[in-house]
Subunit: 375 residues, 2 copies
DNA sequence: ATTAACCAGTTAATCGATTAACAACGGTAG
DNA sequence: CTACCGTTGTTAATCGATTAACTGGTTAAT
């Protein structure tokens, strides 16, 4: 104990388990056991080893070396389609992460957020150099190079929302019917002039008004499903899809993009009386646009969001009508599924979570009810 | 080469760099170079190696083994004082993470969020088994066992807010003067009956009204500094601190806690006319309490928050007067500092970021102006 | 003609641990 | 007295890569 004085200063050179073994006069196996299986040696010796470790400044078994030998790292990789610094601006994702965390921390696992790198040179990502036990993919387009990079790592994967992978369990919602319910709500109120504010149609989301051609070429299954849902509802109501319903693609899931989209849509000759936004973030932007344009919501314009994240954020200036989806649970299921498959346990290949249309204060019947399309 | 046909299906057993070397008929060193230093071999051979790799299903050099050999992992550890699933509920932290991400991703590094484990058995954390190149500590009490666990890893560390570590660069704000400005604002408006809604005084934050004794025993330097700031202002205004100003400690940085605190404070015989909350989250709870109690803000009760995070969240039902601090920049600086010290570059040992009192709509002069203390 | 630089790879040591198989030893039972 | 056992440690193989030093053969420069 008195020796603490001279060994107090942190030694500059790395102390290894072997050094500690030498200093204590035992084998490395015994030192390893002292840390990992206390029952395999006498309490006295173990204590002596731990004491020596402290006086030597040994930081404990090196995690990397241990990982190499043991064959696992103790951390789950999470992939987001965009830059990390944007990811945290996405409330749905943060909620999702919270769910993943809940699962991870009960298993004692850490979370590793893998940076996607800039959009242009996506390939240059840390995906194939980062040590993780498996990946959780959060809503990425199937043609995103990051996806194939992750798949090529041949680690267990769980996919959320997108893409559908043969080899990986899926956690998500029924996007088509969720979207349909949103559109039906509007249609049911009497709206006939609708507009859609869409998320990216694919990795190379270019933004702007999307014609039928581009809609057909959309690679994102999630967005396709939602468009399909909107379209089904529109068609059932006698509208012609997509001719009667303009779709504006946003390049990013940010309120600013939603605002731009809304301005574009609303400045058309026969502007929509109601807008369908594919996220609450975009819907928030629509609200800004409406305010800027002097339009009252819902008097002059009805609006349905998607996600139901604004409530969690107390963004209560306007209570948004929206499609609720359980982000937290999605994260938790995804985390649990990955952990299970790491443990070699069987995993539900397709977990669909419930959604629900939450009618709040941004939707009502159109001011001047346009005459029904037929008769 | 013809064998490519039968090796097309993903082999179940792990393919190593050595296998690939054997299959290609070159040394492991050359294969390694094919991945890491293309200039060290001919383009043709490299291509042949890569092709063979694909047909063999070789996922690229194992990150763990590479990490062991190279001596670094390519990821930054981030420590939060509470469970991960709570962490994401803390908007200040999310903003901070966003800043850290910005720094990390320009350096191509990933972020590893280390789970703290449950409050009671804190020691059982992944901190000493997780592979990272360094730690960023986000606002932890100096007596938190997690802190010493991190320090004992002997990796580069950067501290945000708390605690002050001899050995680690610090990024934060001047908590005392920031807090003072908040109290002075209230005092300047004429308030004389103040109440403080505090964050945890130490790791073992027990919550509830804190007497002078407990305030003295507070171990959290950040909270101490803020209390000091409030106290200085109060004293300068002729009040007696802490006798005249009740302090309620919240066990967690959650609106619900703030609400409970406010209810306790406001139900006292001579309730405060103004409340100082140490975070916007807590302030949000105060708003809830006021609404529940039928008190109008700011008519019946003034309120100053801390952080200025509600704005970012559009929690605009009430524009909160608060002390703004630059969470994002804090994260970015912390990230950059850690990256710099990993690179062996010198780092500013103490980076203080500016704060600013933002007077909005939750503060005004007290309804019945209490007579100025002197004349 | 001689030295130097270069090319395209290879050899072998090394990173820091874990763990199956084995050994030494004192004690106990038959 | 021998056989068997449980306890406490040790030996040595192994995890999957990286990289300094080296090799044999060219080419360019002095």
């Amino acid at each position: 104990m008195v020796e603490a004085t001279d060994s107090g200063r942190p030694s500059r050179t790395k102390v290894t388990l072997a050094d500690l073994a030498r200093a204590t006069g035992v084998s490395t196996a015994t030192v390893s056991n002292a840390y990992n299986r206390p029952e395999k040696l006498s309490a006295g010796l173990r204590q002596r080893i731990l004491d020596t470790a402290r006086s030597l400044g040994y930081p404990g078994p090196d995690p990397t070396a241990r990982g190499l030998r043991r064959g696992h790292t103790g951390t789950l990789g999470v992939l987001y389609a965009d830059r990390l610094s944007y990811a945290f601006a996405d409330p749905g994702y943060v909620l999702f992460l919270r769910g993943v965390s809940a699962a991870a921390e009960t298993a004692g696992l850490a979370l590793t957020l893998v940076p996607a790198g800039p959009r242009d040179r996506r390939s240059a990502s840390a995906i194939d150099t980062i040590a993780v036990d498996g990946f959780i993919i959060y809503s990425m387009a199937p043609d995103d190079p990051l996806v194939s990079a992750a798949v090529e790592r041949r680690l267990p994967i769980v996919v959320t929302d997108q893409p559908r992978l043969e080899t990986a369990p899926f956690v998500g919602i029924d996007d088509a019917s969720a979207a349909r319910s949103a559109a039906e709500h509007l249609l049911g109120l009497g709206h006939r002039r609708l507009g859609v504010i869409s998320l990216e149609l694919g990795v190379t989301g270019q933004g702007g008004l999307a014609d039928a051609e581009r809609l057909r070429a959309a690679t994102s299954p999630m967005v396709r499903a939602r468009l399909q849902g909107y379209g089904d509802a529109a068609t059932s109501a006698g509208l012609s899809w997509p001719r009667d319903v303009p779709v504006y693609e946003c390049a990013e899931n940010l309120p600013e993009e939603g605002e731009r989209a809304a301005r574009a849509l609303l400045s058309a000759p026969e502007p929509p009386s109601a807008l369908l936004a594919m996220s609450d973030q975009l819907a928030l932007g629509v609200l800004d646009a409406a305010a800027g344009l002097g339009l009252a919501v819902p008097d002059d314009l009805s609006l349905v969001g998607f996600d139901d994240t604004t409530w969690a954020e107390r963004a209560a200036d306007v209570a948004l009508t929206t499609v609720r989806q359980p982000h937290f649970d999605k994260g938790r299921y995804a985390g649990e599924a990955l952990i299970a498959s790491l443990a070699g346990q069987p995993v539900e290949p397709r977990q669909l979570l419930p959604t629900e249309l939450v009618a709040r204060a941004t939707t009502q019947a159109p001011r001047a009810i346009s005459p029904p399309v037929r008769g």
